[in-house]
């Protein structure tokens, strides 16, 4: 499913950066950056509360498709600047990591 369509259906607010036309098959939820670096599948949506610049660096290096900031965490300006440069879309949701993951999984019809 297209990232833009997922965002619309789940009510994610786009904060900035990058292409939303990507096709998404799965997500990865973690707040530990090395965990993401080592285990997140490429092209997945990264669900987290780590709202800072290094999150973008990790997403970019690990080849992830987008970042979703949970619990309405705000992205600082330098994070959005980095997201623009690295072409990584950043979204925000009021849901916590559990519910954001659950709803994404259900929408993508994951087993």
């Amino acid at each position: 499913m297209k990232l833009s369509e997922i965002a619309e259906k789940l009510g994610w607010k786009k904060l900035g950066g990058g292409d939303s036309a990507l096709d998404i098959g799965q997500g990865f939820t973690s707040d530990l950056l090395s965990d993401v670096m080592g285990n997140a599948p490429a092209d997945s949506v990264f669900i987290t509360i780590q709202a800072h610049k290094n999150t973008v660096a990790v997403a970019s290096l690990a080849g992830l498709a987008a970042i979703v900031l949970c619990s309405n965490r705000l992205a600082p300006p330098d994070m959005l600047e980095a997201a623009k440069q690295e072409d990584i879309p950043v979204y925000q949701t009021a849901e916590n990591q559990f519910w954001a993951s659950y709803h994404l999984g259900r929408l993508l019809d994951l087993p």
Binding site: S34, M37, G38, Q50, H52, N54, A57, L61, G63
Partner: protein, 306 residues
């Protein structure tokens, strides 16, 4: 980036602000007062010592700050004889002595205070830093640096089959630039045509090495050497060294503090991640001396043996 040249002399200043710590420039001879002291007493302290801010302490713990503005207000409002406790600023922005100078400079830009109290790891007040301290500290170091710079201007050596080689210097707690070295390596190796899967392994290893240097080391270098059949990454630091290598290589084991963990680092997966993506992995460490981590990633698509 570590190889200085005259062309990049402004980067020497940048390097300096990253390498120097707040503790290198801060004033350690502290003039402090206690909560019960009157504002009048503090005004006298300022006058005698020619300073514009006095930290209020309980033992070694910082509990507030009186600035010259507070004194003016006290004189104006007629409460100069009162104890400072009710008038001091309690919501303080502080620096940690281990932070790089660059962070201190950004604080001055951000908050427009004349000075910042400096705390150590145990949250004890150990110094105070003003913008003047930073300038003086920088000038002194710059002089030393200029002398060393001249010695470093010798030509670089060529390496046999190397297609591309580059060295980055990394500084403790420099989260501002975290990911820059590995980002550059990834981008430049992509341009050299490295296949996406191998590129990702290089990215993982270089990022973890970079973060290890920033989070755990006292500073060091990350070197990448790209050859036709393999890419070699080497992280070398100047300390503090790893006490128990076996533990350091165990997933989930970490020595990171709470502050580091709150940023999402210190998951205890850095070295295990590097080992996992490497075809050859080597680590050696000596406490008090430093650590060397080497990762060799072969290029199967270009005929490198796996």
């Amino acid at each position: 980036m570590t190889n200085f040249s005259l062309d990049s002399s402004p980067s020497v200043v940048l390097e300096l602000t990253l390498r120097l710590k707040i503790r290198d420039v801060m004033t350690t001879q502290l003039i402090t007062a206690e909560k019960k002291d009157s504002l009048r007493h503090i005004q006298q302290l300022m006058k005698v010592n020619r300073i514009t801010g006095v930290p209020i302490v309980e033992g070694k713990r910082l509990v507030g700050l009186i600035s010259v503005d507070d004194i003016i207000q006290a004189l104006d409002g007629g409460f100069i004889e009162e104890a400072c406790e009710g008038r001091m600023s309690r919501q303080l922005i502080v620096l940690e002595d281990d932070m790089p100078l660059s962070l201190g400079i950004s604080y001055f830009e951000k908050y427009h205070f004349g000075r910042f109290p400096v705390l150590n790891k145990d949250s004890e007040l150990v110094g105070i830093v003003s913008s003047r301290d930073i300038l003086t500290g920088l000038l002194v170091e710059m002089n030393k640096e200029m002398e060393q710079l001249e010695e470093k201007l010798s030509p670089q050596k060529e390496v046999g089959t190397t297609i591309y080689s580059r060295e980055f210097s990394l500084h403790k707690f420099d989260f501002e630039h975290a990911g820059t070295a590995s980002g550059t390596i990834k981008m430049e190796l992509k341009e050299k045509g490295l296949d996406p899967k191998t590129l990702r392994r290089v990215a993982v290893a270089s990022y973890e090495m970079e973060m290890n240097l920033i989070v755990h080391s006292l500073g060091g270098t990350l070197k990448v050497t790209h050859m036709p059949r393999q890419t070699v990454l080497e992280a070398r630091d100047v300390g503090p060294g790893i006490e128990d290598l076996e533990k350091a290589l165990t997933e989930g084991w970490s020595t990171a503090n709470d502050w580091i963990r709150s940023l999402g680092f210190g998951a205890g997966m850095g070295l295990p991640n590097i080992k996992r993506v490497s075809d050859d992995f080597h680590i050696e460490s000596e406490v008090g001396k430093g650590t060397l981590v080497r990762s060799v990633i072969r290029h199967p698509e270009l005929g490198g043996e796996v």
